[in-house]
């Protein structure tokens, strides 16, 4: 018979930081931080990008409302979380994604990613990435960004690197990558716009610096390691920072409160691990961009990382544990 532990201190569902700010406000500000990238996506890809984002958001909100209705729970779709999840998910898709792909993906984000785990704060995995991964397994050709954006005047640098080797990307100047002259998911290619949004969230204290910084450090350190160990085989470490979903992931994906650890050291370890895994997938994996899989894997380790915690004052841990 397993007895439940005696209540010492009740930890409620994340997010934990309260200072007069509301959850709705947090969601709205995150959406606001995504707006520059969304605007630039519409400028670059035109009407199709707007269509994908609008469809994904509206499906997410409708599906969540239906979920709470079916599950007989209080209707909480008005807290903007579904809207944000829908927007984040749409950012990962190619701009030409067909309507059924967007609808199915957005519904999976809400149902399998969030509602089934009990709603807000319950999901152990990043909902948008979970959905992205399941779609990627099911319809790889529809989710392949390079294949679906052949009409674009730019190329997907990571796909080029995967298929044609390091020479193909050696001449791409870093400024081009920063200015969004590359093809990636519809919202994630405008690095500068995402940086602006991410820094806004950081300065407003809406996300904490530990995870973005350690994630970027993880990518940079591992990329430098590869760059130094096998010279001529890998592009510069900064190339890896400025391509794919790295910047978007650092500020908007790994900072998801329900699937990331709480403490400072766990957050640092979590970010660094995810960053290192990105490079492992990019170099040795079959997928051009490893950010989604890296973050999902790190999400799975969150409960373990939560064990890294300071010793509470006045509590004899070893004596109690082994008694």
């Amino acid at each position: 018979m397993i007895r439940p532990p005696k209540t010492l201190f009740t930890v409620s569902c994340p997010p934990h930081i309260h200072c007069g700010r509301t959850f709705n406000g947090l969601m709205l500000e995150t959406i606001l931080a995504l707006m520059p990238a969304a605007l630039l996506a519409v400028v670059t890809y035109g009407f199709p990008a707007l269509r994908v984002m609008a469809l994904s958001c509206s499906v997410a909100v409708l599906v969540e409302a239906a979920c709470w209705k079916v599950m007989g729970r209080p209707q909480e779709v008005d807290n903007f979380n579904a809207l944000l999840l829908g927007l984040i998910f749409s950012f990962l898709l190619p701009a030409t994604a067909p309507w059924w792909l967007v609808t199915v993906g957005s519904a999976i984000t809400i149902v399998l990613g969030k509602a089934i785990f009990g709603g807000l704060g319950g999901s152990p995995l990043n909902a948008a990435l979970l959905s992205w991964a399941s779609l990627h397994l099911s319809w790889p050709e529809s989710m392949d960004i390079e294949l679906n954006m052949l009409g674009s005047s730019f190329a997907d640098p990571l796909a080029q690197l995967k298929h044609f080797g390091v020479e193909a990307v050696a001449n791409i100047p870093l400024t081009d990558l920063l200015l969004g002259k590359q093809v990636a998911g519809l919202g994630v290619s405008h690095i500068l716009a995402l940086l602006v949004g991410g820094l806004y969230l950081l300065l407003r204290g809406r996300i904490r610096w530990h995870m973005p910084v350690s994630f970027l450090t993880g990518v940079l350190a591992t990329a430098t390691l590869f760059f130094l160990v096998e010279p001529g085989m890998h592009p510069s470490p900064l190339f890896h920072l400025a391509t794919g979903t790295v910047i978007f992931g650092a500020f908007f994906l790994i900072t998801d409160p329900s699937s990331s650890p709480v403490g400072r050291i766990p957050m640092l370890a979590f970010g660094f691990l995810a960053g290192a895994l990105v490079m492992v997938v990019r170099v040795w994996g079959t997928h051009p961009d490893g950010v989604a899989f890296a973050i999902l894997l790190a999400n799975l380790l969150t409960p373990m990382l939560e064990k890294l915690r300071p010793k509470p004052f006045g509590l004899n841990i070893s004596g109690d544990n082994h008694a």
């Binding site: 532990p5 005696k6 209540t7 010492l8 569902c13 319950g122 319809w139 004899n316 109690d320 544990n321």
Partner: protein, 225 residues
């Protein structure tokens, strides 16, 4: 006779092996890519389970309690070898599909579980009823899950194309993660159905676990008891 029927029917819904007892999950997850595979696996398990229950019940008074588990395994293993040889002779394509999971029936929790929990304590006719019921329940569950995954994941049912042209198969469901998602959805659906039934009968619904301190367990590391 009523006891016989009771022991037979409990495996069909009340103690349905993979979905109620949550036993035998390894084959449930691994071989249900198609309805065909689920059905074939289920038939092999019916054979082994019924005969193993019969034999265990037959020798239940003469096995010393200390070595009973080893004896059960020996009985199950002999029967599985027989099934394996029969499948190689008469259903070779299915045998290649199921692969390692046919020999693994030996360590299927249902076989050992029913031998230990039921057949070693009950007379032969009841043990056979229990084995048949559990085996049929297992087969139906595997076929159902396999059909669900096959329908969504490849758009076919028992190998026949039944979905419309425009349907693009959701291949995720026939991959490994789809097995877990499918099993979870079936379990959730069964709980929902049970509660719906209870409410109709005027009983209180069974609540699922709530997310509170008891389910979290994080403070165990802090010395909580």
């Amino acid at each position: 006779m009523s006891k016989f029927i009771k022991e037979f029917t409990k495996g069909l819904w009340k103690d349905l092996p993979p979905f109620r007892l949550v036993l035998g999950l390894c084959p449930t997850l691994a071989v249900t890519k198609t309805a065909d595979n689920g059905l074939g696996m289920g038939l092999a398990v019916i054979f082994v389970l019924t005969l193993s229950n019969f034999m265990v019940s037959l020798v239940r008074t003469s096995i010393p309690a200390k070595v009973r588990i080893a004896c059960f395994i020996v009985i199950a293993a002999s029967l599985v070898v027989a099934v394996e040889l029969l499948m190689q002779a008469y259903a070779y394509p299915l045998y290649t599909q199921l692969g390692i999971f046919v020999p693994l029936i030996v360590v299927n929790c249902i076989i050992l579980g029913r031998a230990e929990a039921f057949a070693s304590k009950n007379p032969i006719h009841l043990a056979v009823a229990d084995g048949l019921g559990m085996g049929i329940g297992f087969t139906l569950s595997l076929t159902f899950l396999g059909a669900l995954r096959e329908l969504l994941g490849s758009g076919t049912l028992f190998g026949a194309q039944i979905t419309a042209e425009w349907f693009k198969p959701f291949g995720f469901m026939v991959e490994a993660p789809g097995a877990f998602v499918g099993l979870g959805l079936v379990l959730g659906g069964m709980n929902y159905f049970t509660n719906w039934q209870r409410r109709k009968q005027g009983k209180a619904a069974i609540d699922g676990p709530t997310h509170d301190c008891k389910t979290c367990g994080m403070c165990q590391g802090l010395g909580g008891k």
